[in-house]
């Protein structure tokens, strides 16, 4: 183990710079964010992820944000276990009828101010599962959504850009997504 740890110290970090703005196209603001609340958040966000019927591809890419190449925490973003500790709720999946209640309760358990980020095409409008009697047709049918990150699934860099939008820190060289 010593050898592995030593090599880790001797080599350059694997962590990469934030990818440039090409991913910004994947992001849309669903609601204008409250500037005062954003200032209150400062430079850190605690995120609670809820899978509301995802195929688990979005979860894989959310997980990837924690790997050494993306290193989410350097931006002050981190996933937390309890909704009580969370500023942001990410919702994946088309929201199945059988996850609706759990999603509503998780959102209700978060202290204000709080934001909801719809992750992936399913969360937007049900995606490929739109029209199913077993789905609610996206996150906005159940909780108020502030931001959408498109993709099936969104790439880790699209996810990073999207989450950083909440901190209003546009990527260097990239463009801030338009409000709407």
């Amino acid at each position: 183990m010593r050898r592995t740890l030593l090599q880790g110290l001797l080599h350059r970090p694997l962590t990469e710079d934030l990818p440039r703005g090409e991913e910004a196209a994947c992001i849309t603001l669903a609601r204008r964010l409250d500037a005062a609340a954003q200032r209150m958040l400062g430079r850190g966000l605690s995120i609670r992820a809820v899978d509301a019927g995802s195929c688990n591809a979005c979860e894989l890419e959310l997980h990837a944000l924690n790997n050494a190449l993306y290193d989410l925490e350097r931006f002050g973003l981190r996933f937390v276990a309890s909704p009580r500790h969370a500023d942001v709720l990410t919702v994946t999946g088309p929201v199945t009828t059988q996850m609706r209640e759990a999603l509503v309760r998780t959102h209700a358990a978060m202290p204000a101010p709080k934001w909801v980020v719809g992750v992936g095409d399913c969360a937007r409008d049900g995606g490929p599962f739109a029209g199913s009697a077993r789905c609610c047709g996206g996150a906005a049918a159940v909780v108020p959504v502030d931001l959408w990150i498109a993709g099936c699934p969104p790439t880790p860099s699209a996810l990073l850009h999207g989450l950083l939008t909440l901190l209003r820190r546009p990527p260097p060289g990239g463009t801030a997504p338009a409000g709407g």
């Binding site: 899978d51 688990n56 059988q98 759990a102 490929p128 199913s132």
Partner: protein, 458 residues
């Protein structure tokens, strides 16, 4: 043709293995593995009732509960009358199985878990730290995929098949495409068949690399996780560079593949193979030589070989408990019949054995990728599906085990489809494996199984 009763007897005796059970209006279907072949039986039940197989063969119970929820067919004599995939109008009234004793307490967990995890409910009954009973409740991710597929053109339905379980998108798209081809009488071009195998092996590699690290992480050994996650990311980037999508969604299509390996593809994949070959052995030594980690994984969460056999558990869960089954070899499908690979099997059935199975399979997969690249045929990528009606049952080996697809095509559209995830026969074994272990070892055991919630609930 075998009668329903004969099938039930064979299953109860152990001379056949249940592959799946599904319904449609007026008929219930059964797929068996017997004498080295897949057998498909349909049993007409115009009155909506059929004799339960779960009565004499417990692995059928959850499937029969699901068939009743989704298709309204009543399994007469089913020992467990509770719903399964459809939670109904009053989900809170679901009666969990009792566990009685003086000092027992219950720990309810989920459907929302403390992490980026799929939803499902676990009801633990514990005596102090020791789990005396775990009961799972699943169905939270039920999206009605099979119902959505009805009436769709095969290409559109294939996109849904590829989203039943995202970590196995190739492992679903592949048997779906093969079923559509067999049902319609279409022969996919050889290059497509080989490229599909390249994708299937890349998917297996990415998942095994990620999960070996994640299992160690659940034993609080994050160093392995950090290194494995980097290798997983390298694999996904190679996949994106070669096939345009990190998880390779929608590339395997009925009739062939949607895109070719780019000119640089072979070099990218060979560089990946070289890197994984270089980086994995030191990590394996680290896993094997860290006593505190071995203390957690060895002897934990044992699946007894007779249970693995009875449930027909596929993938590393079955093979770590002595069940020598791999759909790539038996029944087998091209191009694997032309490739050399080992199917590692262990007998211990604990978390450690499941980790080792994954490590060994990483080696086999690297070997397969090399052979695939060496001998990749040239030629067309896709043929149009022939128009004939028909149905087919296919199996494909995903990283988690064998995925079964049954597909019926009518007038060029999907009339019915059934998709059975390997998790159906692995989830119940997790309940058995955890008994007598401490509750703190549950995440470790659960990750060593890594069953799919989405694939199961579909």
């Amino acid at each position: 043709m075998m009668s329903w009763q004969e099938a039930a007897d064979c299953l109860a005796r152990g001379s056949a293995t249940l592959l799946s059970l599904w319904g449609e209006p007026g008929a219930v279907h059964l797929a068996l593995w017997q004498d080295g072949a897949v057998r498909h039986l349909a049993f007409a039940c115009p009155d909506g009732r059929y004799p339960s197989l779960g009565r004499c063969h417990p692995p059928a119970i959850r499937l029969e509960r699901a068939v009743r929820d989704l298709d309204g067919l009543d399994p007469v004599g089913l020992p467990d009358p509770r719903p399964w995939l459809d939670h109904g109008p009053d989900p809170a009234s679901y009666p969990f199985l009792p566990a009685e004793g003086a000092h027992l307490h219950q720990v309810p967990v989920g459907p929302v878990h403390a992490g980026i995890i799929e939803p499902g409910h676990f009801r633990f009954t514990c005596d102090g730290e020791t789990i005396v009973r775990l009961e799972q409740r699943l169905g939270y991710v039920h999206r009605g995929v099979e119902a959505l597929m009805q009436g769709l053109p095969p290409d559109t339905a294939a996109r849904l098949a590829g989203r039943i379980s995202g970590d196995s998108t190739v492992a679903y798209a592949l048997p779906f495409a093969r079923a559509a081809e067999q049902a319609s009488g279409t022969e996919p071009p050889p290059r497509a068949v080989w490229l599909r195998a390249v994708m299937a092996e890349l998917e297996r590699l990415a998942n095994h690399l990620g999960d070996v690290g994640a299992i160690c992480n659940d034993a609080a050994f994050s160093l392995m996780h950090a290194h494995c996650a980097v290798l997983r990311e390298r694999t996904l980037r190679a996949a994106a560079a070669c096939f345009g999508h990190r998880l390779m969604m929608d590339v395997v299509v009925p009739g062939g593949v949607a895109q070719d390996l780019p000119a640089a593809g072979e070099a990218i994949l060979r560089a990946l193979i070289d890197e994984v070959r270089l980086r994995v052995p030191p990590l394996v030594r680290l896993y094997d030589a860290t006593a505190s980690l071995q203390d957690r994984t060895v002897g934990t969460g044992i699946v007894r070989p007779e249970l693995a056999r009875q449930f027909g558990a596929g993938g590393f869960v079955g093979r770590a408990s002595g069940r020598d089954f791999d759909a790539r070899r038996m029944p087998g499908y091209p191009p694997y019949d032309a490739l050399a690979f080992d199917v590692p099997v262990l007998a211990e059935g604990d978390v450690n054995a499941r980790v080792w199975l994954r490590i060994r399979e990483i080696g086999e997969t690297l070997g397969l990728l090399g052979q695939l690249l060496d001998r990749l045929p040239v030629g067309a990528l896709r043929t149009a599906l022939a128009g004939q009606d028909g149905e087919a049952v296919t199996l494909a080996e995903g990283f988690r085990g064998d995925v079964l697809i049954w597909l019926r095509l009518e007038k060029g559209r999907v009339a019915r489809c059934h998709a059975r995830d390997p998790s159906w026969f692995q989830w119940p074994l997790l309940e058995a494996a955890i008994e007598g272990n401490i509750i703190a070892d549950f995440p470790l055991c659960n990750k060593s199984f890594n069953c799919s919630y989405a694939g199961h609930d579909r």
